[in-house]
C-alpha cells in the first residue's frame, strides 16, 4: 500500500472542515502525526467486507420514542438556564456578533 503523506493543503482543508485554525507549527506537527495514523487505519482496506452489514450501534433498540408532551421535570426556567452565565441580557444569553454587514 502507498504510504500516506498528507500535504499542507490537506491539513488546511481538514482543519477548515473541523472549523479549526492552526498555526504554522501545528500544521507541521499534525502533518506528520496524522499521516502516520491514517497510514495505520488504511490497513482496513485489506479485509473483505462485501456481505457485511455496518453497525452504527449495538443495542438493537429501534424507534425509542416518548409521548409528545412537555414534561416540566425536564425543562429549566429562563432564570435557571441563565443562572450561571456571566453574559446575559433580559432572558437571553448574550454572545458576540457572528454576522457582519
Amino acid at each position: 500500500m502507498v504510504k500516506k503523506n498528507l500535504t499542507k493543503e490537506d491539513i488546511l482543508h481538514i482543519a477548515k472542515l473541523g472549523n479549526l485554525t492552526l498555526n504554522e507549527k501545528e500544521i507541521e506537527v499534525f502533518k506528520k502525526q496524522l499521516s502516520s495514523v491514517i497510514d495505520y487505519i488504511d490497513k482496513l482496506q485489506e479485509i473483505d467486507t462485501k456481505d457485511v452489514e455496518p453497525s452504527s450501534q449495538i443495542t438493537g433498540l429501534t424507534d425509542v420514542l416518548r409521548e409528545d408532551k412537555v414534561d416540566d421535570k425536564r425543562t429549566l426556567t429562563p432564570e435557571q438556564a441563565l443562572a450561571n452565565t456571566q453574559s446575559k441580557e433580559a432572558h437571553f444569553f448574550k454572545v458576540k456578533a457572528i454576522l457582519t454587514e
Binding site: G18, V29, L44, S56, T59, V95, I98
Partner: protein, 476 residues
C-alpha cells in the same frame, strides 16, 4: 483511623455502629487531599463546603432513622466524579480549558442517582480533556501521577478518579469508558474498574465523547464495593433512549457463589509479540488461581482483533468531531483555538474520515469491521463463558514516554478497545505486582453479564487480596 485501607463495606458497618461519623470521614478525605494532592493532581475542583454540609445532614439522619441505610445504600460514602459528569452548580470542565468556567444548571442522571443514594461528592477529578487519552497527560491542566510511582502515568482518561481512589481521597471514583478509560486507570492503579455493557448505565448529562461507544462506570478497591455502586447507577433512563429495559441484577447478592465448571477463554490474538513477558506471567499466574477455584481454561480465537484499533480510530474520531462541533465559541465556552492538541487531532481525523469522497472507504468500512469484531465475540461466547486478557500489554509507563507519538499512545489500549466496539462489559481486576507496579487483568463477558464478571472477580479477590497493597508514592 486509616482511610486508605477502608472499603465501602467497612465504612457502612462503622457508620452504622457509630465507630465514626460521616463528618469525621469526610474531613479525613480533605485532610488527605490537602496533604497529598499537590503530588498527584487527581482533583480539578473540590466540593468541601457542600460535602461537609451533607455529612452533617447525614449524621442527623443516622441518629434519627433506623432504616436510613436501607433507603440510602451509599450513605456517607465519599465519591470523586470524573469531570465529564455534569454536576449542578459545581464546576464541570471535561478536563478542558474551553469550558473551564462552566457551572451546569443540572445534574447528570448518574450524578443524581449517586446523590440520592447518599454518596457525598468530594470533588471533580482530572482527566484527559474530553476523555481523549490513555495516560491523563492530555488534560488541559497538570497531569495526574500514579500514586504507586509518581514518575509514571496512572492510566487514562479517568486518571484523577483512579489515582484518587488509590491514594484514599475517596472510596469511589467514577469514570467513562469509550475505549479504555476506566479499565486502564484501574489496571495501572490496582483497582476494580467496570466498563459496563453499553446501555446499562445512563449517559444523560455525561459530556459526550463518542456517543455509540461511551459507557458510564466506576472504580473501587474491591469487587463488593464496585457491585454495590452499579446497583445504584444501572437502569433504564427516559432521558437516554439508548438505555435498555433489561432487569438490573442484585449484583452484591451472588458474590461468594462458586465458579466450578466456569469456562474461560484466552483469545490467542491478545497474547502475542509486544506483550511484556512479566505482564504475561502475571496473567498466567492469575489463571492458575482461577483454575484452582474450579474454572477451566482454553485458547479461543477472535480473528479480526488485528483490525480493531484501525476501526476504532476511524469510528471514534468521527463521532468525536461531531460531538465537539457544539463548542463553537458562541454558545459554549471559549474559542476553538483553545482546544488541546489531542482534541484538534481527533477533530481533524474525524473530519477527514467523514469527508466527501472518504466516507465509504473509512467510516462505512470501519462500521462493517465493527460488525465482524462483534461477531468474533459472539462466536467465542458460544464456546466459553468469559474471556481473560491483560489490561495493558505493558506496565504503567513513564510520564512523557508516549506524548510525542499519538499512534503509540493509541496502541496502549489494544486489549481494551475491541470490547467497546462490541458494546460488551469488561472488568479490570488486580493481577498482582511486577517491579512494584500494578498489573491488571481484564475479564470480558457477553452483553449484560456484569453479575457473572463480579462473581468470578470476587472469588479471585478473596484468594489474592491485592487491594490491600497500598501505594507508597515512590519516586516523589
Amino acid at each position: 483511623m486509616d482511610l486508605l485501607g477502608l472499603t465501602i463495606k467497612d465504612v457502612l458497618e462503622k457508620l452504622k455502629t457509630g465507630v465514626f461519623s460521616c463528618r469525621e470521614l469526610t474531613e479525613k478525605c480533605f485532610v488527605n487531599i490537602k496533604k497529598n494532592d499537590k503530588k498527584i493532581n487527581a482533583f480539578l475542583t473540590l466540593n468541601e463546603e457542600q460535602a461537609l454540609k451533607k455529612a452533617n445532614e447525614y449524621d442527623e439522619l443516622i441518629k434519627n432513622d433506623k432504616e436510613i441505610f436501607d433507603k440510602k445504600p451509599l450513605l456517607g460514602i465519599p465519591i470523586a466524579l470524573k469531570d465529564l459528569y455534569t454536576t449542578k452548580n459545581l464546576r464541570t470542565t471535561a478536563g478542558s480549558k474551553i469550558i473551564g468556567d462552566y457551572y451546569p444548571p443540572f445534574d447528570a442522571t448518574v450524578t443524581k442517582k449517586l446523590i440520592n443514594a447518599g454518596a457525598i461528592i468530594i470533588g471533580k477529578t482530572n482527566q484527559d480533556a474530553w476523555g481523549h487519552g490513555s495516560s491523563g497527560e492530555n488534560t488541559d491542566y497538570e497531569p495526574t501521577r500514579n500514586p504507586y510511582d509518581l514518575s509514571r502515568v496512572p492510566g487514562g482518561s479517568s486518571s484523577g478518579s483512579g489515582a484518587a481512589v488509590a491514594y484514599g481521597a475517596a472510596l469511589v471514583g467514577t469514570g467513562t469508558d469509550t475505549g479504555s478509560s476506566i479499565r486502564l486507570p484501574a489496571g495501572f492503579c490496582n483497582l476494580i474498574g467496570l466498563k459496563p455493557t453499553y446501555g446499562r448505565v445512563s449517559r444523560y448529562g455525561i459530556i459526550a465523547m463518542a456517543s455509540s461507544f461511551d459507557t458510564i462506570g466506576h472504580m473501587t478497591k474491591t469487587v463488593y464495593d464496585n457491585a454495590k455502586v452499579l446497583e445504584v447507577t444501572a437502569g433504564l433512563d427516559p432521558y437516554d433512549s439508548t438505555t435498555v429495559p433489561i432487569k438490573i441484577d442484585q449484583y452484591t447478592k451472588i458474590l461468594g457463589q462458586n465458579i466450578k465448571g466456569l469456562k474461560i477463554g484466552l483469545p490467542k490474538e491478545y497474547f502475542v509479540k509486544g506483550l511484556d513477558n512479566k505482564v504475561n506471567n502475571s496473567i498466567k499466574d492469575s489463571l492458575k488461581i482461577l483454575e484452582k477455584l474450579g474454572a477451566t481454561v482454553k485458547e479461543v480465537s477472535l480473528p479480526h482483533t488485528y483490525y480493531a484499533m484501525a476501526a476504532y480510530y476511524i469510528l471514534v474520531p468521527s463521532e468525536v468531531s461531531s460531538n465537539l462541533s457544539r463548542y463553537d465559541g458562541i454558545r459554549y465556552g471559549g474559542a476553538r483555538e483553545i482546544f488541546g492538541a489531542e482534541a484538534k487531532r481527533r477533530i481533524m481525523l474525524g473530519s477527514y474520515t467523514l469527508s466527501s469522497g472518504y466516507y465509504d472507504a473509512y467510516y462505512l468500512k470501519a462500521a462493517k469491521v465493527r460488525t465482524l469484531i462483534k461477531q468474533d465475540f459472539e462466536k467465542a461466547f458460544k464456546e466459553v463463558d468469559v474471556l481473560v486478557t491483560p489490561i495493558s500489554p505493558t506496565l504503567p509507563f513513564k510520564i512523557g514516554e508516549k506524548t510525542d507519538d499519538p499512534l503509540q499512545m493509541y496502541l496502549s489500549d489494544i486489549c481494551l478497545c475491541p470490547v467497546n466496539l462490541a458494546g460488551i462489559p469488561g472488568l479490570s481486576v488486580p493481577s498482582g505486582f511486577v517491579d512494584g507496579l500494578p498489573v491488571g487483568m481484564q475479564i470480558i463477558g457477553p452483553q449484560f453479564s456484569e453479575e457473572l464478571l463480579y462473581k468470578v472477580a470476587y472469588l479471585f479477590e478473596q484468594e489474592t487480596q491485592y487491594y490491600k497493597i497500598r501505594p507508597q508514592f515512590k519516586n516523589g
